[in-house]
Symmetry: C2
Subunit: 260 residues, 2 copies
């Protein structure tokens, strides 16, 4: 049984997942707009961590703004940007299998790639695109994945996420992908460093009991699970994750953080 | 280290994989035509076992005939037909995610399915089709897969096979698929029963060290691995499979069987 993390008595920075916590699709989750205002008013620094890799950061910011959320571009830390920084740091020239909306942010695929980078291509996970990547992996190129989420909540139901395609390629090519976004410890650590807050003084709020909550707790950050988005009742008894707290929604998490 | 199986001194029946053993794409593998004639002349019963699930049995027979292979429809045991028999025996009404060429053999998808059946849909493994199946699995329907091969040899290179998509769905939905074709023991046993030959008197010839050779050996049938098709040198040191014999091609396997 995993250990339960302890919430800091005086949190100094908040990490917040986006889809399923603040909004579902294009609709704000009830009371989340007011709750974010309260958190802002308390002067707490925050960063928004998203494994959603179908859109660049600016698009995410504009989408949040259209729903009424006051979020700065610099506060949004996407798995896509973290991946770009990672491949640059390693000096790699990847072949990208990503959603076309992300192409401008990531840049073009190399003509002679030395790595494969996977994002959530969604409908662009065609057989041809998968087979092209499979053949690169069989030549020995490493597989770097922005995330490996299992599914996400869409307005019309749960939807298969890029983790399925990571698993598909790992199985076919007999390789193991490196995951850059949540639940990677380095990803949470980078967000903390960006705020200048120590892990034990931060809180992560998410709807994914493993990638958000357990991932944060593996990085030393107490995690709050919300009962919105992709949350399902069995998450409360997950064998691998024991949230510091489980609350109904983002507004309830903010009330707890602000000691109300 | 897995045990090595022993080849029967007087084999009474031969099981033969098709793609990668007799042919690659539409081209017969050198010397395989003459070798099959020799095997026929020796009067040995044989069955052809294929996890290729993009074509019905008649199409496979005609394709083999066009290359010059004398194979009867009744000698071809496809994973697709075995799956159809399996779901009929269980009284299931499946949703099919299969190649359209297989639609007539398998019949239409049920409007209110109680199971999901996966074949090698190839280019028809679209995101939409995968998400539809994912949602059925999340409702608790069992996943039955005709095969879970990793890849196969096409004239232009190795190609990703349906096992990748089985793994994708297993990961996303948190389920485990039932595999009907090779390497399932029941599939080899059905082929033996069809010939009326005991496992210890049969030999399996294949290019897939795990699904053909180890699968057969798990069913008590000695396996010969050929160095054609998807064979790769590392297969000779596979940690999970130890073929009874490894030979250059089908013709060499037949020479061994006929004691030449």
């Amino acid at each position: 049984m995993p250990a339960t993390a302890i919430l800091p008595a005086r949190p100094q920075g908040i990490l917040i997942d986006l889809a399923g916590v603040l909004h579902t699709g294009d609709a704000a989750i009830p009371r989340s707009l007011a709750a974010l205002h309260q958190l802002r008013a308390a002067g707490l620094p925050m960063r928004f961590l998203t494994n959603t890799t179908r859109s660049p950061r600016t698009t995410i910011m504009h989408k949040l703004a259209a729903m009424g959320f006051d979020v700065q571009e610099s506060e949004i830390i996407t798995a896509a940007r973290a991946t770009l920084q990672h491949v640059h740091a390693l000096g790699l020239h990847p072949h990208f299998l990503i959603h076309p909306d992300l192409a401008e942010e990531m840049g073009p695929s190399a003509t002679e790639p030395d790595a494969v980078v996977l994002g959530d291509a969604g409908p662009y996970f065609t057989f041809e695109a998968m087979n092209q990547v499979f053949r690169l992996l069989m030549r020995g190129l490493p597989l770097i994945a922005m995330a490996r989420n299992r599914f996400f909540q869409e307005p019309d139901g749960l939807t298969i996420d890029m983790g399925a395609y990571v698993s598909a390629l790992e199985y076919a090519a007999g390789v193991k992908a490196e995951i850059v976004g949540k639940p990677a410890t380095a990803y949470f650590a980078a967000a903390l460093a960006d705020m200048g807050v120590a892990a034990e003084n931060a809180i992560m709020i998410g709807d994914d009991v493993r990638d958000d909550v357990q991932g944060a707790q593996n990085a030393g950050i107490a995690g709050i699970l919300v009962r919105t988005g992709k949350y399902r009742p069995q998450d409360e008894h997950d064998p691998q994750a024991r949230p510091a707290m489980i609350v109904d929604d983002f507004a309830a998490a903010v009330r707890t953080i602000l000691g109300q």
